[in-house]
């Protein structure tokens, strides 16, 4: 176990990952040195990338970690501790907040506590006294936790985002303590909750794990506790489930408070595999494989994973081998113990005999090998890792939708009747109980088509949507092109995948540097044989790791599971290699002359760079779609469509921090002049998949109209513009790794919550401000629109405490009906998301789930699982709404939305750039939502917010202030 070196590596790595952090305001010398030292060293970056346990931690942990480096009290951590240490942000903590820390200690903090003060391992409340001595380290965490509490839904989202963002946020939190105006409400909240509750978690081996958590703990905390108990490092494939009010199994959102998710007071959970690794042999540790085996045994035995008699027998025999070791003839009545084990839904004597017979043939196999064999067979089953959801197609026929690593499957009875691979899917959304996917047009098609399915109810639609978002993120979003430009899933909704992607977790796994942990198999207690092959295997693995090789590929060439590598079905796209993505597109070409008909131009390149045939082939599955870069038609429209108004209608009410609230929707209705026809207007939350760039971009000069804009923002605009223009011809962000900007390729909008009642009790103070615009008249137009400041811009000269107080968040709410937060440009610090909002959005709603049916209705130009139009979703035009303006149509050039938030404020900044009669005009609108659980002095908060904004933008004007109060009715907030 390394210590100092390890932690240092982490720092470096961390620093490397965020070169842009240089501009970070609170600088720690040593750290910035690190940064300086490492910045720009791409190669080294690659090598270092992933070194250190920090890799295992979500990025937001790492952020904090860097700060912990500055903490004098920190000691050189062991790797294990290092990881925890990272989690301890050290900032200017304030002693007064200590108790609050206690109350709201996040999982992270808990872990730290456990490590540092062993005597207080479980309950945060216990640790209170101890904590006080550690005020410096923890207070900030406490604040952060508080922030999380306050800005509940959003925080998790940040995890997925840049470090810069996290930093900003941290700073914000750090300073938050000083911003008196925000303190009081949250404090009240914090102090009131310190209770501990007992959680029961059913583990995969059937045993029960009990632990205490603080009542307001987040899902992640409990999850970490369980993983710790299991000694599991490759956590990302797993998750916790609970039963909701309707006896439906749901995944516990790690980023949210447990209490708010579960049924009242039923702290009962189950530990399950959430993402079934397509190739389990690529897992690093045997213990992970073992847990996966346990899950699969259960899946098979319960019938969830259907398989044939022979396969049942084969899998059962490997289970026996793993649990009991070699078959022993002398063993009395082997059928007895066999019968006690469950292998299949309808287990017969015949099957048990077959199992025994096969068991005999596995003589000499170690438990780890048997597990591996088990998995090798299980993974090939057609329903492996498929999460089924009941649904109906457009004709009301019962079907099943299966979400898996590769995409979405449609089943009718047992038959697969359609399949939508992730690359084919542009957008996933749900509305009420409808679930929609927008399909990328085929080669011969011009427009996207949308396929709709009906689910049982709103909840199931949302659940399906979430599962899709998560699976897409986990499996499809690979590692990033340039290592510093990770691509993440951002959503405008409160929900997003908060963990690491498969690629990231694989990379992380390669850094596991511990001897294979000893673990007990369920029945090993009964058998006193020590057959565990773990040590053997660990040697192989350890050596591989030491070589510092790319994980998986190497690993398996010398491990016993080689066959897995040659399996073309699975991919191991080496994370850090951007070119791979492009190359793998045309793998099938490999079969040389046979395939000529399908050649793309890129093929030659493909062959040229052909690394190893099998690797390529394996990479194929995760590669982007093979067809030439599809233009996102949406993009085209965005950039080319004339907008009648500079801005597309922007509803004035901003959702509560607690996103997805219908409250906002309702408010919309009342606030907007034109009533929204709910039947036609889609209110969606939008998920944008984007790439993040930390590279500084040269500021752009041509935003003539943007006088108040700050440099940083200009940069973004510039980026955005370039993207827009180029995107007319090509969706290049997808394919040009070096572009520091990217265009989203998948949107996963989430419908806004429908019931207001679901909202937590909150008060909103909304401040709408209008800041500069080129045309004074324009301002009139904007009466309804909240506008503001570029204040969010990172590094902005005028940036200071206020800005800090609202760490940036992703487009947190796109309220515009049918806003398609399409392209995203992100540069450094604050999250910047560009939302293009074309005035009109027409989407064909099509429902076809049956290829046969599709073919019968035959549309000549379209590929089969296609489209006939059934309904149309119409989005309304901004022009109509903005009747008060001069109405002269301008051309929308760019539009972007920046959302940031802190404890209790959410700031959404929309930047729109329009071209109007040769004059370029930039309008910046900022909407600030102040949210609080309890009594907020909103007058004060408002005054403060306005003041801050004014400071940043003297010429800004406030156009609207809305105070919105919501009361809590139901605990169910999902």
């Amino acid at each position: 176990m390394t210590t100092e070196a390890g932690s240092e590596t982490e720092v470096k790595e961390k620093a490397e990952k965020s070169p842009a952090r240089l501009s970070q305001s609170e600088k720690d010398t040593s750290e910035s040195q690190e940064v300086a030292a490492t910045e720009g060293e791409a190669e080294r970056q690659k090598e270092k990338e992933g070194k250190g346990i920090s890799r295992y931690l979500p990025t937001w942990f790492k952020k904090q970690k860097s700060q912990s480096q500055t903490s004098p009290t920190k000691e050189v951590p062991s790797p294990e501790e290092a990881s925890n240490q990272e989690e301890v942000p050290e900032v200017n903590g304030h002693p007064e907040e200590v108790e609050e820390n206690e109350a709201l200690s996040s999982p992270v903090q808990e872990q730290v506590e456990e490590k540092e003060t062993e005597s207080h391992s479980n309950a945060s409340a216990d640790t209170e006294p101890a904590l006080e001595t550690k005020v410096e380290e923890k207070s900030v965490e406490g604040v952060k936790a508080a922030g999380e509490g306050g800005a509940q839904e959003e925080l998790p989202e940040k995890q997925q985002q840049q470090k810069e963002e996290a930093e900003v946020k941290e700073r914000a939190e750090g300073t938050e303590g000083q911003t008196s105006i925000f303190q009081s409400p949250l404090r009240l909240v914090r102090k009131s909750r310190m209770k501990l509750v007992v959680c029961h978690v059913t583990l995969l081996d059937g045993s029960d794990f009990t632990c205490e958590v603080e009542k307001r703990a987040k899902g992640l905390f409990l999850f970490f506790k369980v993983c710790e108990h299991l000694n599991l490092l490759e956590k990302d494939y797993f998750g916790l489930t609970y039963m909701d009010h309707h006896e439906q199994k749901c995944w516990l959102d790690p980023t949210k408070e447990i209490k708010r998710q579960i049924r009242s007071n039923n702290w009962q959970f189950a530990f399950n595999v959430k993402f079934y690794p397509p190739d389990p042999s690529l897992l690093t540790e045997d213990i992970t494989r073992y847990l996966l085996c346990l899950q699969l045994r259960e899946d098979v035995a319960s019938g969830r994973l259907p398989c044939s008699f022979v396969t049942h027998a084969l899998l059962g025999s490997y289970t026996l081998q793993a649990e009991f070791g070699d078959y022993e003839p002398e063993q009395p009545r082997p059928l007895d113990y066999i019968s006690q084990l469950s292998f299949a839904p309808n287990q017969s004597k015949e099957m048990e005999e077959k199992i025994l017979e096969l068991h005999k043939s596995h003589k000499g196999m170690t438990p780890a090998q048997a597990d591996t064999q088990f998995l090798e067979n299980a993974k090939k089953l057609s329903m492996y890792g498929v999460d089924l959801h009941h649904a109906k197609d457009s004709e009301g026929v019962d079907i099943m939708l299966g979400v898996c690593a590769n995409g979405l499957l449609v089943f009718k009875d047992r038959l697969r009747i359609n399949r939508f691979a992730w690359p084919k899917i542009l957008k996933i959304s749900y509305k009420r109980n409808n679930f929609y996917i927008k399909i990328r047009p085929g080669e011969t098609e011009q427009f996207e088509s949308t396929v709709g399915f009906k689910l049982q109810n709103h909840r199931s639609a949302k659940r399906l949507w979430k599962v899709c978002v998560e699976n897409h993120s986990f499996f499809r979003l690979n590692a990033p092109e340039p290592p510093t430009t990770p691509r993440f899933l951002t959503l405008g909704s409160k929900f997003r995948y908060s963990g690491r992607t498969q690629t990231q977790t694989r990379l992380a796994s390669t850094l596991i540097d511990r001897p294979a942990p000893a673990f007990e198999r369920t029945s090993s207690k009964r058998i006193s044989r020590s057959l565990d092959g773990a040590p053997m295997i660990s040697i192989t693995e350890a050596s591989t790791t030491e070589n510092g090789h790319e994980p998986h590929l190497e690993l398996h060439s010398d491990s016993k599971v080689e066959e897995a590598d040659s399996n073309p079905g699975r991919v191991e796209a080496p994370p850090a290699q951007s070119p791979m993505r492009v190359r793998v597109d045309n793998i099938y070409v490999r079969h040389s002359n046979l395939m000529l008909e399908d050649h793309d131009k890129t093929q030659e390149e493909v062959l040229k760079h052909q690394a190893s045939v099998s690797e390529l082939k394996r990479s194929f599955m995760e590669a982007p779609p093979p067809s030439p870069p599809q233009h996102n038609l949406w993009e085209k429209r965005i950039t080319s469509s004339p907008a009648t108004t500079p801005r597309v209608q922007q509803p004035t009410t901003v959702p509560v921090t607690d996103a997805a609230s219908t409250a906002a929707f309702a408010a919309d209705n009342s606030d907007t002049k034109e009533p929204i026809k709910t039947t036609e207007v889609e209110i969606e939350e939008t998920v944008v998949v984007r790439e993040i760039s930390t590279k500084p971009v040269v500021p752009d000069e041509h935003a003539q109209g943007a006088k108040a804009e700050e440099a940083a923002q200009k940069k973004k605009m510039k980026q955005r513009e370039s993207v827009s223009s180029e995107s007319e011809s090509e969706d290049e962000a997808e394919y040009h790794p070096n572009v520091s900007v990217s265009i989203s390729h998948t949107q996963i909008p989430e419908e806004r919550e429908e019931e207001e009642e679901e909202e937590e009790q909150e008060k909103l103070t909304e401040v709408s401000q209008t800041a500069q615009s080129v045309n004074p008249e324009e301002e009139k137009k904007e009466v309804e629109e909240a506008t503001v400041t570029p204040g969010e811009a990172p590094n902005g000269p005028t940036q200071h405490a206020e800005a800090d107080a609202r760490p940036v968040a992703p487009v947190h709410e796109e309220e515009v009906p049918k806003v398609n937060g399409e392209a995203t440009v992100v540069d450094a610090r604050p999250q910047v998301i560009c939302c293009s909002q074309p005035p009109v959005v027409k989407t064909e709603m099509v429902t076809i789930s049956d290829t046969f049916a599709a073919q019968k209705t035959e549309i000549a130009t379209k590929e089969v699982p296609i489209v006939h139009t059934e309904t149309k979703t119409i989005t309304y035009e901004a022009a109509q709404l903005d009747g008060s303006g001069d109405g002269e149509p301008g051309v929308l050039m760019t539009a972007q939305t920046i959302t940031s938030e802190s404890l209790c404020t959410t700031t959404t900044t929309h930047i729109t750039k329009t071209l109007k009669g040769g004059l370029s005009e930039t309008r910046i609108e900022k909407r600030i939502v102040i949210t609080g659980d309890c009594d907020i002095d909103h007058d004060e908060a408002l005054a403060q917010a306005i003041k801050e904004a004014k400071e940043q933008h003297p010429d800004m004007s406030v156009t609207r202030v809305v105070v919105h109060k919501e009361t809590e009715l139901a605990e169910e907030e999902d």
Partner: protein, 282 residues
């Protein structure tokens, strides 16, 4: 069974059935073609000879039945995968009894027999394409959804996707497997369309080899212990252009087999045998 999907193309046995003289006059056909009964017989004998002598398979020959003019096309009566055999319910009423002899033979080979008894189900083996990783079932005049469902139930390990067959008799009238992960496909529009569907429906990646003639796309692939990759395909006389394409398969042992008569009653190469791998079964 060395695990799922191992040994695609490995066969030890072949079930065939003699050509009844009634074939020439009574066998079902989509065209009005005349069939030379003796020539058909000869071709069939040559076909069986290749399986038995050239390839060394153990041949199980079902007794000729004059009342079943289509009975030479044994493929339609059963789908065998691993050690499970699904006895089908052929789409053509007149062919239903063909399964009886087939069932007996498969039982004798100790396969697990699954019978399709649902009266709403029809399935011809000619509509079933097994790729080694999954099944594609053509929904055709002879095969319906229910039949496909029962097949899916019989072979639970595998994904079963349905593919509409709008032209041609069976799915395999214009495609077949030419190796693990290699689909031989005809160049007609319906064939290409069907391929697109299959590619879209599959989690796996398939290579394709397009031959100019749809009927020539039906070939028999085997992977035999001492022979390596073997491909029985059409002859140059029948489809010269397609044969040129087959000739590009350098790794395969290519064996042209004449099928000019049976093809007139929509019989392709795969139709005339049911291939079984007994050794692989535990």
């Amino acid at each position: 069974m060395a695990g799922l999907m191992a040994g695609f193309g490995c066969y030890t046995h072949a079930i065939v059935r003699e050509v009844p003289t009634s074939l020439a006059k009574e066998a079902l056909r989509t065209s009005q073609a005349e069939v030379d009964s003796t020539k058909a017989q000869k071709e069939h004998d040559a076909y069986v000879h290749v399986l038995r002598t050239t390839l060394g398979l153990e041949i199980v020959e079902l007794p000729v039945d004059e009342t079943l003019p289509d009975s030479v096309f044994v493929e339609d009566a059963a789908v065998v995968c691993g050690d499970t055999a699904l006895i089908t319910r052929p789409g053509a009423e007149s062919r239903r009894r063909e399964t009886e002899a087939m069932k007996g033979a498969l039982k004798d080979l100790n396969l697990n027999i699954v019978e399709m008894i649902d009266e709403n189900a029809t399935l011809d083996g000619g509509d079933v394409l097994f790729t080694g990783r999954e099944f594609f079932v053509g929904l055709s005049k002879r095969t319906n959804q229910r039949g496909a469902e029962i097949l899916a139930d019989a072979f639970k390990d595998y994904a079963v996707s349905t593919v509409p067959v709008v032209e041609g008799l069976h799915l395999k009238s214009f495609c077949s497997m030419g190796g693990p992960g290699l689909i031989i496909i005809g160049s007609s529009e319906p064939a290409q369309k069907a391929l697109k569907i299959m590619q879209q429906m599959s989690d796996h990646r398939y290579d394709k080899l397009t031959v100019p003639d749809d009927l020539a796309a039906n070939c028999i692939y085997m992977n035999l212990p001492n022979k390596g990759q073997v491909l029985l395909h059409c002859t140059e006389e029948e489809y010269p252009e397609s044969v040129k394409v087959y000739d590009k398969l350098k790794d395969h042992m290519l064996i042209p087999v004449s099928n000019s008569e049976k093809v007139r009653v929509d019989g392709a190469l795969t139709c005339c045998s049911v291939l079984i791998n007994k050794k692989s079964n535990h």
